[in-house]
């Protein structure tokens, strides 16, 4: 088991965002976390990536308790993430962004007196990832000049450039046109196979994507795991369909809108507010 959460609870003040969540992710799995707004999905991602400490319970990555380990150290240990809201380096080019990730992975960030331009290994690996994500043609463009979809790809690509063993994607296809979602998922799955990523965890709203690509689905509701199983089992679970997925109406699944918890950082972010540590 590469990642394991045991009985994780997280409070915001008196509000219980996560309530005794236990889950595990094995080698080779693509696990989707679904649930209505305020179900605790992003809180869970933030706890799994060590950004938030659980109020109680424990998270283990490759057997290490990640408590207090820090995001940077966790990335070096082999866990990478992308963000729900696009995170890029506005004044770095596409290739520089990927080079930064490669430099980090190879532990070359403390090389002061060598030329980055002459580091063929860093350059090759960055180009390789750029090609995987279809960004090679835009490699000299500044990140802030990219279209929204490309920014999203760059964010995810830079996480892949770390060649992580586990990658957590917070809504990798949100804000992207429906037609492009499948293309992005194909890229992600292909890239993860290519770099030898052992498992992917994603938070996703689009049920076509969720059921089309997941090996396992974890349904969250009000901070609890409502169901955890293969796509077929989830689809057959009337309770999950009623509370989380919604009845297919007019051919497409509809997401029920649960009341949004005021202190949930996910919805706070969505309203343009800021969460500590997420400038």
């Amino acid at each position: 088991m590469i990642l394991e959460a045991r009985d994780v609870t997280r409070f915001y003040g008196a509000y219980r965002a996560l309530d005794g969540v236990s889950l595990g992710v094995d080698d080779g799995e693509l696990v989707s976390i679904i649930g209505p707004n305020g179900a605790g999905k992003s809180t869970l991602i933030n706890v799994l990536t060590g950004v938030l400490a659980p109020t109680s319970g424990v998270v283990r990555f490759k057997g290490h308790d990640i408590h207090g380990i820090g995001t940077a150290a966790l990335a070096r240990l082999g866990m990478a993430r992308s963000f729900q809201l696009v995170h890029v380096f506005p004044d770095l080019t596409v290739i520089e962004t990927l080079q930064a990730a490669v430099v980090s992975r190879l532990g070359r960030g403390t090389r002061l007196f060598v030329s980055l331009a002459r580091d063929r290994e860093v350059h090759h690996q960055a180009i390789e990832v750029a090609e995987l994500f279809g960004l090679a043609g835009k490699r000299h463009e500044l990140a802030r000049h990219l279209a929204q979809g490309d920014k999203k790809l760059l964010d995810v690509a830079s996480a892949f450039a770390l060649r992580p063993e586990l990658i957590l994607l917070d809504e990798p296809t949100s804000g992207v046109a429906t037609a492009e979602k499948t293309a992005i998922m194909e890229i992600l799955v292909g890239a993860s196979r290519r770099i030898g990523c052992r498992a992917i965890i994603q938070v996703e709203h689009d049920m076509d994507i969720v059921f089309g690509y997941s090996d396992r689905i974890i349904a969250l509701h009000e901070g609890r795991v409502l169901a955890d199983g293969a796509p077929d089992a989830i689809r057959a679970d009337r309770h999950v369909v009623d509370t989380v997925i919604g009845r297919p109406a007019a051919g497409r699944p509809v997401l029920p809108r649960a009341p949004t918890a005021p202190s949930d950082p996910v919805s706070a972010e969505g309203r343009g507010l800021r969460v500590p540590g997420h400038p």
Partner: protein, 305 residues
């Protein structure tokens, strides 16, 4: 390579101008080149790492007083030894101050650096027996490679130090380390997610910039033969930030250009107007509002790369 061409042009100008220009302007080149060294370092922190220090006069002061102390209290006259000692002391002080300051960003970082700068200024002012108080200290004439500085053209040794400092800084900003600093500037949370320890990179940048400030400070003393606490006063920190903004923190040579313009402008405005600070204030306001990229930004667009 566009960068190399600029580099060569600057080095050439630094060598030729003192020879061709009237002696008085050649004299002004002395503080310019010392400040240019300071600013190369400050901009590693400001332009490349995104941290604005209002306390770098602290390190300028350490460098300047190192030269004064060594030449008046010991038998040391060698500029090499003075520069080396200044660099080491600047690094040591910055390692401590930086360890505290880099935990904070934006205005808190600025205020904390300012506070440390003021502590050092007060130390220079009050520890009279050691520092000479507000009268300052003398800097006895140093030697370079065993040769008396007066025996060589006045600016040559400064040009030499500036060129070496420029080449080393050029290498640093174009290294993998330099790239990591820019990720920290652009998006610290994302840098952390990529496994780059933000606090550590800020600290390294702080220490390197302080070494440059100390070296520049050590170069300020010999031409005038004295140092005094105003070198470490907060207005000095303000001046070097002003020079950086004037030239443009977004480009490698912007701050150096800023130092040049500042020194010559200050000299010419001061000679005709008592209220020269008024003029400088207006210039600063105009730059911030109309040309946030500084003088270099007027020529070329784009950030430090």
């Amino acid at each position: 390579m566009k960068g190399r061409a600029i580099l060569a042009a600057v080095a050439l100008a630094a060598l030729v101008v003192p020879l061709a220009a009237p002696a008085y302007y050649a004299l002004l080149m002395l503080p310019f080149m010392a400040y240019a060294v300071v600013l190369l370092g400050l901009n590693l922190l400001f332009g490349y790492t995104g941290l604005v220090s209002f306390g770098h006069a602290l390190f300028v002061g350490i460098g300047a007083y190192t030269g004064a102390f060594l030449t008046t209290h010991t038998a040391v006259r060698s500029l090499e030894v003075i520069l080396l000692t200044a660099g080491v002391l600047g690094a040591a002080a910055a390692a401590l101050v930086g360890a505290l300051c880099v935990r904070y960003v934006k205005i808190y970082f600025g205020m904390l650096t300012l506070a440390f700068g003021m502590v050092f200024y007060t130390f220079l002012l009050k520890f009279y027996r050691l520092t000479g108080g507000d009268e300052g200290m003398r800097v006895l004439r140093p030697t370079l490679l065993g040769i008396d500085l007066d025996a060589m053209p006045k600016t040559d040794y400064l040009v030499g130090v500036l060129v070496v400092a420029t080449l080393v800084m050029w290498r640093i900003v174009h290294s993998p380390f330099g790239l990591c600093l820019r990720t920290v500037r652009d998006n610290p949370a994302k840098a952390e997610a990529l496994g780059l320890g933000v606090a550590r990179f800020r600290w390294h940048a702080f220490v390197i910039s302080a070494v440059y400030a100390a070296l520049g400070g050590a170069l300020l003393g010999p031409p005038t033969g004295t140092v005094d606490p105003t070198l470490a006063y907060w207005t000095q920190s303000g001046n070097i930030v002003f020079m950086t903004l004037l030239g443009g923190f977004a480009s490698f040579f912007g701050p150096v250009l800023g130092a040049f313009v500042f020194i010559f402008l200050q000299d010419s405005v001061m000679s005709v107007l008592t209220y020269w600070r008024l003029v400088f204030g207006a210039i600063l306001a105009a730059i911030v509002i109309f040309a946030p990229g500084g003088l270099m930004g007027l020529f070329a667009r784009g950030r430090a790369a």
